[in-house]
Amino acid sequence: MVKVTIDDKTIEVEPGTTILSAARQIGGEVVPPAMCFYSKLPGTGGKCRTCLVEVSQGSEKDPRPMPKLVASCSTPVMDGMVVKNTTSEKVKVGRGAVVEFLLINHPLDCPVCDQAGECHLQDLGFENGGEGTRYEEEKRTFDPVDIGNKIKLHMNRCILCYRCVAVANQLTDKRVHGVLGRGEHAEISTYIEKAIDNDFSGNMIDVCPVGALTDKTFRFKSRVWFLKPMEASCECTKCSGKTVVWMFGNEIMRVTARKDQYGEVEDQDGKTGWICNDCRFEKKDISKWNIIGPRKINRHSVISQGNYTSPRQTIKKLN
């Protein structure tokens, strides 16, 4: 076990753990945000640079600080390492710059985007971004395209985190989409818009941190903060059948996998709870689902804006 201190909080973790997962073991405010890293998908991380932290002491043996900010998702901890995240001014400035770069080509069409309200880039911009933009050039633009008949790709909004590529790599043996081009010309695409016909392709939508990949069956249907997320289960031969159904009244507007506080799909029965396309796109009839109960949502999330139960419970706690 190695000892690591993140923002004056010390924890002992397995050797080889990354700073980010050590921070997640501590939990709370010390956890750096992550746009591209996805703990359930090996090979992700190191691309978006939002998880930058300052290492003010490399290890017990070599206490020199690391010269630059490091990406916490891909830097393993050392014994006696001291990491600064929220307490470091350098990290604050650096992360603000990363957000500014991520937003250079982002259209900021949140009022139109279906991801608004559960978008990680929105949260990141809200917490670390600047008030205005300094970018005056033309943004790169693409036309929205259909990937298969159930997924819409808005390449404008993509931040090239490669999560969807990783999900396709790890769920299927025949990946048909990937990143074409390099640098500013890079885009998620399939050759000749070839349809992705895999039973689990819909999970690309769940792992996408922005609104680049969206559910066509939910497209412009509602806004997430008008919906009630309910935990539900169904008999499914392909997947665990354990999902969250987003309801408007008695109508199921969309179905997603169950995600944890970091926006990652939770484990169900010992494995990652990816859900199949049948559950996600086809079962919109309430009789096909066994509704278990309301999904716990962070009280500060916009999704829980219509929920009036928690303040009363808080008052009870205060008394």
Binding site: D109, C110, P111, V112, A116, R219, F220, K221, S222, R223, W225, F226, V302, Q305
Partner: protein, 180 residues
């Protein structure tokens, strides 16, 4: 008890004098006061003919604005509805088809947009929340109706017509959105 304002008068019940018993001087005095009011400055307006200017921040009936080219600004983002404390606003969004670019500004638009004027408390939070400068409260008054259903204003009553544009340049929340 000692008076705080020193304006209190002590009531006496001493018998009235002859002049007081006549009552006439008091009546005439009162009528004189009434008469002098005829020549004072009037405090009221002759309403339908004369109107008073509204304050620029007056919050009356809503308008859904169109842009300079006549396209609807509203993109049905739902922020007005989530900001509304009275839950008066409902909407259904739809996707803009090819060929409708002259009607709607963004690729998504409000197919149905309804404000229940009986629920609305005219707080102006919808105007403040709107990221697209689509909804404004104006200096127009919501007319009275006979049926409750008539108070649910749809897009037919809310969206401004191109022939009769509603001026909102005095509103505090104009100019939020910078032109691309």
């Amino acid at each position: 008890m000692q008076s705080l304002s020193n304006r209190s008068k002590v009531v006496s019940d001493k018998p009235m004098t002859f002049m007081e018993k006549l009552y006439l001087p008091a009546i005439l005095g009162g009528m004189w006061i009434t008469f002098t009011h005829l020549f004072r400055k009037h405090n009221t307006l002759k309403y339908p003919e004369q109107t008073k200017a509204f304050a620029p921040v007056y919050r009356g009936m809503h308008v859904l604005k169109r842009d300079e080219q006549g396209r609807e600004n509203c993109t049905a983002c739902g922020l007005c509805a989530v900001a509304c404390p009275a839950e008066a606003i409902t909407m259904v969004a739809n996707e803009r088809e090819k060929g409708e670019e002259h009607l709607y500004r963004e690729e998504k638009y409000a197919e149905i947009y309804e404000i229940n004027m009986l629920r609305c408390i005219f707080c102006g939070l919808c105007e403040e929340a709107c990221p697209k400068e689509a909804i404004f409260l104006t200096d127009r008054l919501v007319p009275t109706e006979y049926e409750r259903a008539d108070f649910i204003y749809g897009k037919d009553k809310l969206v401004e017509s191109m022939d009769y544009r509603i001026d909102i340049t005095d509103r505090q929340s104009t100019g939020k959105r910078t032109e691309k």
